[in-house]
């Protein structure tokens, strides 16, 4: 019998500790599938963030290092500069990449570091229990914006792809979602392209993945997915923001 579907070699069999309905499991899987399909598992080094995905090292079946909160692009720079023939990617959330690590993100991008960034945007700090993130939507309630995000008080959602698109060093930026099979298939294509760019030496590639966080959003899974497809995407439209 021909096997048509199975666990990618780049994914360990360790059960995930992510919450029910969380998008991380899907994103881990499609990243692992891309790495398998590109045949780069044995030369890949990943940098895990601080946040929900800090445990990525328990799930990915290749070399992984931890980094201080927000610093994965700097750690990736250090690895890639000394091992330029390896494939180096960071996997970061919105707090890690777009708040505390904003400077590291911008400068790695602007230097055109030949790395891949998987940026998981779920509009809140999931690991610490659902605080306001730089990507929290206007009006969205979190544990630290209990009255809803008010731009007069908390400013506006930080749009990473739009912002980075102005930088010359950036090769590729795309915003995708994992909220239905069609979006997942497309997200995988984008992630594969971001790794391929690195293999071809094209420079900094970032894929922003809008991800559902039902538990911290206080929504049933179906409602959370619907919120991604409607409300979340209105503020963060899907699409290619740069393709050099």
């Amino acid at each position: 019998m021909k096997k048509i579907y199975g666990r990618p070699e780049s994914l360990k069999s360790t059960p995930h500790l992510y919450c029910p309905g969380c998008g991380h499991g899907i994103i881990h899987r499609i990243v692992a599938e891309c790495i398998d399909e590109l045949g780069i598992r044995e030369k890949t080094i990943a940098i895990a963030p601080v946040g929900c995905a800090v445990f990525a090292y328990d799930y990915f079946n290749f070399d992984v290092t931890e980094a201080p909160h927000g610093r994965p692009p700097a750690v990736a720079t250090g690895i890639k500069r000394v091992l330029p023939d390896r494939i180096v990617f960071t996997y970061q959330g919105d707090g890690d990449l777009a708040a505390i690590g904003t400077a590291e993100t911008i400068h790695a991008a602007n230097r055109g570091e030949n790395i891949t960034v998987i940026f998981v945007n779920n509009a809140n700090y999931g690991m610490t229990g659902g605080q306001m993130a730089p990507t929290t939507l206007i009006g969205q309630k979190t544990t630290t914006s209990p009255f809803g995000r008010d731009p007069k008080r908390e400013g506006y959602p930080f749009k990473v792809c739009e912002f980075l698109s102005a930088l010359e060093g950036v090769a590729y930026l795309e915003r995708v979602a994992v909220s239905n099979p069609k979006n997942i298939i497309h997200a995988k294509k984008a992630i594969k392209k971001a790794f391929n760019n690195q293999i071809e030496g094209k420079g900094f590639s970032l894929v922003e993945v809008l991800s559902q966080c039902p538990v911290d959003w206080g929504m049933p899974v179906a409602e959370a997915i619907n919120w991604v497809n409607t409300t979340f995407m209105q503020t963060f439209p899907l699409g290619v923001y740069k393709d050099k």
């Binding site: 598992r41 044995e42 030369k43 890949t44 080094i45 940098i47 800090v54 090292y57 990915f60 079946n61 290749f62 070399d63 992984v64 290092t65 931890e66 980094a67 201080p68 610093r71 700097a74 750690v75 990736a76 720079t77 250090g78 690895i79 890639k80 500069r81 000394v82 091992l83 390896r86 400077a103 590291e104 911008i106 400068h107």
Partner: protein
């Protein structure tokens, strides 16, 4: 063996290069600017990695990455910049990476000034960042030692998988002295069965400082403490002078020890019985040598370019066996030979 006139900061670079430092990541700050400037030319000429980072935070994390990938890597800064690096240093200590970090100290607190200082002793030897960790701290007092300690730091870091801090200051960094470069072999790199370079023909590896499992962090802490005990037993370095007859023993490190040595000599020329203990490793601290020197009828005089930091470790070592006095200046004030001699 040839002699060259060289600045301390340049000698440091050349020592690191001779030791096989493959990557340097830095950020401008006075009085260490000669280091990134020199490395930006030399490392590129040698086909090695130089990168000016966007911040001290980024620079130390680039070092973290390069060390994780298995190469000898270094960063340098001065006091305010070293404060920024403390987060990364704590992670590097927790992940047991053999990074080399250089602090060409200036005065503080805050932005302070750009003059040489020894105000970062506490930060260097008592932790600096969060968590229960130790750095091996080397305190050079000459251009020659800037070269030699930079050369030795990488092998020492790799031997114990522990970060090494070279604690210099603006005076040593900026002054020019003759330097002798002896032909030396690069110490063999110890087997690094922990580096991340892709899992070809081996199981995947993980580097981390997060230990969430029940009891895991306690085990990790005990493992670190065991390593620190081994370092304390094997790596203490200090110099002693005239401890046979001295009734006043100066205790000083780095540039203060240069001044103390001069004051000791001029005082002895006038018949005063003065000796000196110079800690070279500030951690592990030469507590035993100091305790042995603390005999009744003698006084210890600790000289520092701060308002009393190392003196606390000296008092702990002496444990009340003889009087311990302190003489220090900070904020850009340099203890000089005349004022110290008149105090003796």
């Amino acid at each position: 063996m040839t002699k060259q006139l060289m600045k301390g900061n340049i000698a440091l670079c050349e020592g690191a290069i001779a030791a096989g430092c493959k990557a340097y990541f830095g950020y401008p700050i006075t009085p260490q600017n000669e280091v990134p400037a020199h490395m930006s030319r030399r490392m590129v000429e040698l086909g090695r990695v130089f990168l000016q980072a966007e911040s001290e935070l980024a620079a130390i994390n680039m070092v973290l990455g390069a060390c994780a990938a298995g190469v000898r890597a270094m960063t340098s800064s001065s006091s305010p910049g070293i404060s920024l690096k403390q987060e990364g240093i704590s992670y590097i200590a927790g992940m047991e990476l053999p990074a080399v970090i250089v602090n060409v100290q200036r005065g503080g607190p805050g932005l302070g000034n750009i003059a040489g200082s020894q105000s970062d002793y506490f930060q260097s030897v008592k932790g600096g960042g969060h968590g229960d960790y130790r750095l091996i701290v080397l305190a050079p007092y000459s251009t020659q030692e800037m070269y030699d300690f930079a050369f030795q730091a990488f092998a020492l870091a790799e031997k114990y998988r522990n970060p090494v801090l070279i604690l210099s200051d603006g005076v040593i960094g900026q002054m020019m002295e003759p330097l002798e470069i002896a032909p030396s072999q690069i110490s063999a790199t110890v087997e690094k069965n922990w580096i991340l370079d892709g899992c070809k023909n081996r199981p995947p590896r993980l580097l981390r400082s997060l230990f969430m499992g029940d009891g895991d962090l306690e085990k990790h802490n005990l493992k670190l403490q065991k390593k620190y005990n081994t370092i304390s037993e094997n790596e203490v370095r200090c110099e002693t002078y005239h401890l046979d007859d001295a009734d006043t023993v100066l205790v000083a490190h780095g540039i203060a020890a240069r001044v103390a040595k001069a004051a000791m000599r001029s005082s002895r020329a006038t018949g005063k019985k003065v000796g000196l203990i110079r800690p070279i490793t500030l951690w592990p601290f030469p507590s035993r040598a100091i305790a042995d020197a603390a005999t009744p009828g003698r006084r210890l005089l600790v000289v520092e370019m701060n308002h009393g930091q190392m003196v606390e470790d000296v008092r702990l070592a002496v444990n009340g066996k003889c009087p311990v006095e302190f003489y220090g200046r900070a904020g850009g004030g340099v203890v000089n030979e005349e004022e110290l001699s008149s105090y003796l």
